[in-house]
């Protein structure tokens, strides 16, 4: 068994064109390590050099933002759905 990862439109071309994939790992860090091993092209959009979550990426476990669950240490269960959504941000600056 494994968790399901929902892939945002902008990352699909670099991730096999799929809407969802099965992922392995018991933490968000492990799941993202699984994803970046399979799709190295997206690593820079998911993680910083130091392995922390990219500033402009939102990661959710079910309905919860992982920033409030411990970031890359957030727990993932087999039945969970993980969603990646690039942050929507900008401004006049």
């Amino acid at each position: 068994m494994s968790a399901v990862l929902r892939i945002p439109t902008v990352l699909r071309p670099a991730m096999g064109g799929e809407t969802t994939i099965s992922v392995e790992g018991t933490t968000i860090g492990a799941v993202l390590a699984d994803v970046t091993a399979r799709f190295p092209a997206v690593k820079g959009q998911l993680l910083n050099e130091d392995g922390t979550l990219h500033r402009f990426l939102n990661v959710y476990v079910n309905d919860d933002d992982v920033r409030y669950l411990g970031g890359v240490d957030a727990a993932v269960a087999d039945t969970d759905e993980i969603t990646l959504l690039p942050a929507v941000a900008g401004g006049a600056w």
Partner: protein, 141 residues
């Protein structure tokens, strides 16, 4: 082209006015042909007059709603409180989706100026905005 109702346009402007002195923002739920079905206001979690960020909870809820209703998130709007309705360097650098409509609401003048753009690989193009049968005028017309 972006197509929306007068009330949807006014909802965007009202969201941006309520957010003052900070920038206001929200998402556009609609169809791939550029027709807006709903304007979804968001808190600006950056809480700034110079930058905005859509509330991650609103972002997730709106994508879920799009899936449930057979719609798409087709764009985002935000205000420039003291500058023209044109994407800034920050807007262009952080534009996540080349298919999206990037709507700028400038409150630098009254009435508010509302314009829409596409941003593809850093290239900005203004597009027409159709509001209830009235075609907007692009800056280069």
């Amino acid at each position: 082209m972006l197509t929306l109702t007068f009330d949807q346009r006014e909802a965007m402007v009202a969201t941006c006015i309520r957010a003052l002195p900070d920038e206001g923002c929200g998402l556009l739920l609609g169809r791939a042909d550029g027709v807006v079905v709903d304007v979804v206001a968001s808190a600006n979690v950056a809480a700034s007059a110079k930058v905005y960020e859509i509330d991650p909870r609103v972002l997730l809820a709106t994508f879920r709603r799009a899936d449930d209703e057979g719609l798409e998130v087709i764009g985002v709007f935000h205000s420039h409180t003291h500058s023209p309705a044109y994407p800034s360097a920050t807007d262009i650098r952080q534009a996540p989706d080349p298919a999206w409509h990037y709507v700028l609401v400038s409150l630098a003048s009254s009435p508010a100026d509302v314009r829409s753009y596409s941003v593809v690989q850093g290239e900005v193009s203004e597009e027409d905005v159709l509001v209830e049968g009235v075609t907007g005028t692009r800056a280069d017309d």
